[in-house]
């Protein structure tokens, strides 16, 4: 009785979940990886703002943060940094790698006028340039199976032509001021957020979440995951359960059972709350309509 009263109080006190899952064409099948996690490769040219060691370690910590979620079982095998072809996207039948790379020059200042890439598809791969405008800081390109939502490739690009990336812990840089010895655009903060997208999460409406849309200059809070992020990722890739996919899509094989634990980098309170909410939501979802925003089909 006392336990159920405590759990009831916990549920009452916790806010409703806010995470969102990405879908094919916004309203199609839910996105997911057939594997638990994915490999990644950092292009060895890195960023001019930082030493390779510093920048690359920040990227690795970003993926490690998602791998540390104990109610899931994600792994991210790193392919050693190398000078890659720096081509994002997906070539059918070819070897496709999930790249993390900085673009050091903008396409607007690089590409000759009249090149067909300008009007046909974009020039980032052909000229190794940032092609999303001078105000975009980072983006992820995900290629998936249209019918199932299975993710086949995900590449993260960071705009090194217009932004200063940092890895120091603080203080935040003043807007418009010098960006030395302070946090401008934190690599780990940015890549942890983008890595959430590579896994199939969209933006959360929870302002405390790493997957929340706003990212002010100097921010480092998204280096860590928060309860809403944990709930989202464990709903997609629950340890011991099948990967959550859209109705009618066959879930990929799942890893051996392990149950949701409470260890790892996030606080035990956050994980307990996330696990409780996931369990509650699973029950709720059993009766929800197939088209509800977060409804997913579990094999079990």
């Amino acid at each position: 009785m006392r336990l159920s009263a405590a759990l009831a109080a916990l549920f009452v006190a916790l806010p409703a979940s806010a995470y969102e899952r990405a879908r094919v064409n916004d309203s199609g099948p839910l996105l997911f990886w057939a594997t638990r996690g994915h490999s990644f490769q950092i292009d060895s040219r890195g960023t001019t703002d930082l030493s390779a060691a510093s920048a690359f370690e920040a990227v690795r910590r970003s993926f490690a943060t998602w791998a540390a979620v104990s109610c899931s079982n994600l792994t991210f095998a790193e392919i050693a940094p190398a000078q890659t072809d720096r081509s994002v996207g997906y070539v059918p039948g070819a070897t496709n790698r999930n790249l993390v790379l900085w673009r050091a020059q903008s396409c607007a200042s690089t590409v000759p006028a009249g090149d067909p890439c300008v009007t046909q598809g974009g020039c980032s791969n052909k000229y190794d340039c940032w092609d999303y405008g001078s105000t975009a800081i980072a983006t992820t390109t995900t290629t998936s199976n249209t019918a199932t939502g299975e993710i086949l490739d995900a590449d993260i690009e960071l705009n090194d032509s217009g932004f200063t990336f940092t890895t120091v812990d603080g203080p935040p840089c003043a807007p418009g001021g010098p960006q030395v010895g302070c946090v401008a655009y934190d690599v780990q903060n940015t890549v942890t957020h983008e890595a959430g997208h590579t896994l199939g999460l969209a933006h959360s409406t929870d302002q405390t979440a790493t997957m929340y849309a706003l990212a002010p200059i100097g921010e480092t809070s998204k280096r860590a995951l928060h309860p809403d992020d944990l709930e989202g990722i464990c709903a997609i890739y629950p340890k011991g359960g099948p990967t959550s996919v859209s109705p009618g899509v066959t879930p990929p094989g799942s890893a051996p059972s392990g149950g949701c634990g409470t260890s790892g980098a996030p606080s035990w309170e956050a994980l307990l709350a996330a696990a409780a909410l996931v369990a509650l939501r699973k029950n709720h979802r059993a009766s929800a309509t197939a088209t509800a925003a977060k409804t997913t089909a579990h094999a079990g």
């Binding site: 309203s27 009007t119 999303y132 975009a136 983006t139 992820t140 997208h197 969209a202 933006h203």
Partner: protein, 181 residues
């Protein structure tokens, strides 16, 4: 010959990128080379220049201008290049880009990419933050609404409006375009 496949779905972006603000109407107007009130008349997706080996899928959105708020064009249609789209069994999603629906009425803030025979080609300024969708409930004045859900913004002000009367939006664009001259 480059294969173009008719886009059959209403919209395509699914997640989000990070953009530096501000993205209020005045700032967008100042940054844009053209501001256009228009209607979507066609969309088609295909592989980039070079075909499948390019690795990238993009979508051509053809707009029929209703009114130019900034800049001008003599041509009957304008093409907006949007990264991502669907070609057969593959869908490519580039976070945060503006999504367009068939026959949708929009106000878009554009930067010019280049020309091709019969049309100027643009991109949307500040990804999805540079597009408002125009709609009108029965008996109500038309409104222009912006969807921020797929774009993370660094430097956007809390008070930036995403839901405006079309007339109000048009006036703000006119003022900002006038002051920029």
């Amino acid at each position: 010959m480059r294969r173009i496949v008719l886009l059959l779905v209403a919209s395509f972006p699914a997640a989000a990128a990070t953009v530096r603000g501000p993205a209020d109407v005045a700032s967008l107007t100042a940054a844009a080379e053209a501001v256009l009130h228009a209607r979507v008349v066609a969309q088609e997706s295909g592989w980039g220049a070079g075909g499948e080996s390019s690795g990238v899928i993009f979508t051509r959105v053809t707009l029929q201008p209703v009114e130019w708020g900034k800049g001008s064009g003599a041509r009957a249609t304008v093409v907006v290049r949007v990264p991502g789209g669907t070609v057969g069994e593959l869908t490519q999603t580039v976070e945060g880009v503006a999504a367009f629906a068939p026959r949708e009425e929009v106000v878009v803030f554009l930067r010019k990419l280049g020309d091709e025979p019969g049309a100027a080609v643009y991109a949307v300024e500040r990804l999805a933050l540079g597009k408002f969708s125009v709609g009108q409930a029965a008996g109500r004045p038309a409104r222009a609404v912006r969807d921020r859900s797929h774009v993370a913004c660094a430097g956007c002000a809390a008070g930036e409006e995403d839901d405006l009367l079309v007339g109000d939006l048009r006036e703000r664009v006119r003022r900002a375009a006038g002051s920029a001259r």
